[in-house]
């Protein structure tokens, strides 16, 4: 454990964050964009846990932030998928470029 | 005799560890060797277990239908399942042309991996537990929720309508029944105050929860058995594979060894579910005691703890098998009605009752 420092874990979370950002920028499909968002949220979770573990071992606040982020991510994914399915019903496509009308 | 009773496997494990330490100097190599030894032992145990359960299921089914069951290969048909395994081994591993080959071949692996992962924290006997994790119950329920991914994967990648319908049903079924499983487990967690399976077993030293916990625990035991039968896709909730309507559901396209892996995962899941039920409600490896009758209790103590554990587990397995050969299959709407209209509300109210009981200290 001693060889693996905080910076190792921060590199993972940085890489994951920017992978997510890249995916969010290049993908055009709503579901894959949602996946990219999940990656970004998870990289943030890793950061919270790592800081809690290595810097503030006397508190649990990072852990609580992670729990709340996971909860909110679940709610967000559920709502997003409801929207995607509704969009698919009206437009027969879940491509962001096709969803160009303001009300449907 | 006393030494035999207080015998625990931890001394054997430490002994083996020190012996291996002398033989293998390298730390990394030592860890890998030990992991390999444990893994091989576990795999052999589980394969033998799957063989036994397969034989047991055929015999139980036959006796309940006034038949004899397998009785040709080996004495009393005991080698029938071995013959079946050999046949499955030599069968062609067929992959459909339109299938997504990568996912098609990955799916049986995922399913069997999740089944194997859930075996880890179970306490088989006194002092014999592979991984005494402090969140045992949560770990098992989280790992077993991964099996749905494998089934969805198998159903989608076969690119076959039957498989896809089977996978959709499976998703709806497992995701909904997981809720009542979780709630019925929580009722015992509330009473024990710990998620660790070891602590839960220890808390039942003076009586199993099914006796100590009055009616609410009985209700959650029944809910657990019913919902876990649905979770592992066994009849009467086997409409994921539903031979008559879906020609096999998600495993329509599978043959040979890949199909054997699905089959083995089913039996391991059956074992895990029954072992969890036995651990949580029936006291795991704790012997059966009646307060006041010291002589009787002493006799019960002489039975080894592993026999208690496996006896209870086999009892639950037998009940689940009896479900299979007694009840007709449900329709999908009946299945979801049962969960969302009956099991979930009842188990929610039940958790409140159990919490009240735990606060007031009404249990023994």
């Amino acid at each position: 454990m001693n060889e693996i420092g905080l910076t190792h874990i921060l590199f993972i979370s940085t890489a994951l964050f920017f992978i997510g950002v890249y995916g969010f920028l290049t993908r055009k499909n709503l579901i894959t964009m949602l996946m990219a968002i999940e990656l970004i949220l998870n990289s943030v979770n890793i950061n919270f846990i790592a800081f809690n573990k290595y810097l503030y071992a006397d508190k649990l606040d990072g852990l609580f932030f992670t729990i709340f982020i996971i909860t909110i991510a679940a709610a967000e994914a559920a709502v997003a998928i409801a929207i995607i399915i509704h969009l698919y019903r009206s437009l027969k496509s879940i491509d962001v470029d096709d969803a160009d009308i303001m009300k449907f | 005799m006393k030494t035999l009773l207080s015998y625990s496997f931890s001394s054997l494990a430490t002994h083996m560890h020190s012996w291996l330490k002398n033989v293998i100097a390298n730390d990394l190599l030592l860890t890998i060797t030990e992991l390999v030894i444990i893994g091989v032992c576990l795999l052999v145990f589980l394969i033998l277990l799957a063989f036994f359960l397969g034989y047991m299921e055929r015999k139980v089914a036959a006796f309940m239908e006034l038949r004899l069951g397998p009785n040709r290969v080996g004495p009393k048909g005991t080698l029938q399942i071995v013959a079946d395994t050999v046949k499955l081994l030599f069968k062609e591993g067929f992959t459909p042309d339109a299938a997504d080959k990568f996912l098609f071949n990955l799916a049986p692996g995922i399913i069997i991996t999740t089944a194997l992962l859930a075996v880890a924290p179970i306490a088989y006997a006194k002092g014999f537990q592979l991984w005494d994790i402090n969140i045992g119950v949560l770990y098992i329920s989280s790992v077993s929720s991964m099996a749905v991914i494998g089934i969805l994967m198998a159903g989608w990648s076969s690119s076959n309508k039957y498989s896809l319908i089977g996978a959709m049903r499976c998703g709806a079924q497992i995701v909904s029944y997981e809720l009542s499983i979780g709630l019925s487990l929580i009722s015992i967690v509330v009473l024990t105050g710990s998620l660790s399976l070891n602590d839960i077993v220890e808390s039942q030293a003076n009586g199993w929860w099914i006796f100590k916990g009055h009616i609410p625990v009985l209700i959650s035991f029944v809910i657990f058995v019913v919902a876990s039968t649905a979770e592992i896709n066994r009849a009467p909730f086997d409409l994921v594979e539903a031979d008559q309507e879906l020609t096999g559901g998600f495993n329509t396209e599978y043959a040979g060894m890949k199909f054997a892996m699905f089959l083995m995962a089913e039996y391991i899941n059956l074992f895990v579910v029954s072992a969890v039920a036995a651990t949580i409600f029936l006291g795991g490896w704790m012997p059966f005691h009646i307060g006041g009758l010291t002589g009787f209790n002493h006799i019960m103590d002489y039975i080894p703890s592993s026999i208690w554990f496996f006896g209870k587990t086999l009892f639950i397995i037998f009940i689940i098998m009896q479900f299979r050969w007694t009840f007709p299959r449900l329709r999908i709407d009946q299945l979801l009605n049962l969960e969302w209209k009956y099991l979930l509300p009842i188990s929610m109210v039940n958790v409140l009752l159990v919490t009240l009981m735990a606060i007031m200290g009404w249990h023994f």
Partner: protein
């Protein structure tokens, strides 16, 4: 190199490899499966850091919930065997450049900054056990999280109702 660091590098490879494949794979179901591997790797990382509770929660919520939801929506909106369009070249190049530069910048920050744990923290670590988490989650004192807990439960209820309202099929009289 000890066993523990080998395990760490395997976990890191699974997380990053899964993430990269998840956003580049052109078959959408495969992307979801790679995402699953990435999320499982993150759960393994939590196990590695001895945060078992959060790892189990990660598996329950992400693998048992969100990935299953995503796969369900894929079932409902795609046909088996479809491939997605390749991203437009200039968009891929520019977003790739932007992310690489930003990642490099962050990398510089991380390597430059010297993270020093507070001495008090090292001497009095709190075990992230379920008991401690539960006690602190529901306490009303300084580091208690009872208010966010209740707010999040309200949010979940709102999300539940919102999903039903959005996805419900309104029967029109014809």
């Amino acid at each position: 190199m000890s066993a523990s660091s080998v395990i760490f590098y395997i976990i890191a490879a699974v997380i990053i490899g899964g993430g990269i494949l998840a956003i580049t794979s052109r078959k959408i179901f495969r992307a979801a499966v790679y995402l699953l591997f990435s999320l499982l790797g993150i759960a393994a990382l939590y196990f590695y850091l001895n945060y078992e509770f959060i790892a189990a929660v990660q598996i329950v919520v992400y693998v048992g919930g969100i990935v299953v939801l995503i796969i369900f929506s894929i079932f409902l909106t795609h046909a088996s065997g479809d491939e997605m369009k390749r991203p437009v070249l200039w968009r891929a190049v520019f977003s790739g450049l932007a992310t690489v530069f930003a990642a490099a910048l962050t990398y510089l920050f991380i390597t430059d900054h010297n993270f020093v744990p507070v001495g008090y923290a090292l001497d009095h670590p709190v075990a992230p056990s379920v008991k401690n988490i539960g006690l602190q989650m529901l306490s009303t004192t300084e580091h208690g999280y009872i208010l966010p807990f209740e707010v999040v439960s309200m949010l979940l209820l709102a999300a539940l109702i919102g999903c039903i309202v959005i996805a419900i099929k309104i029967k029109t009289k014809e």
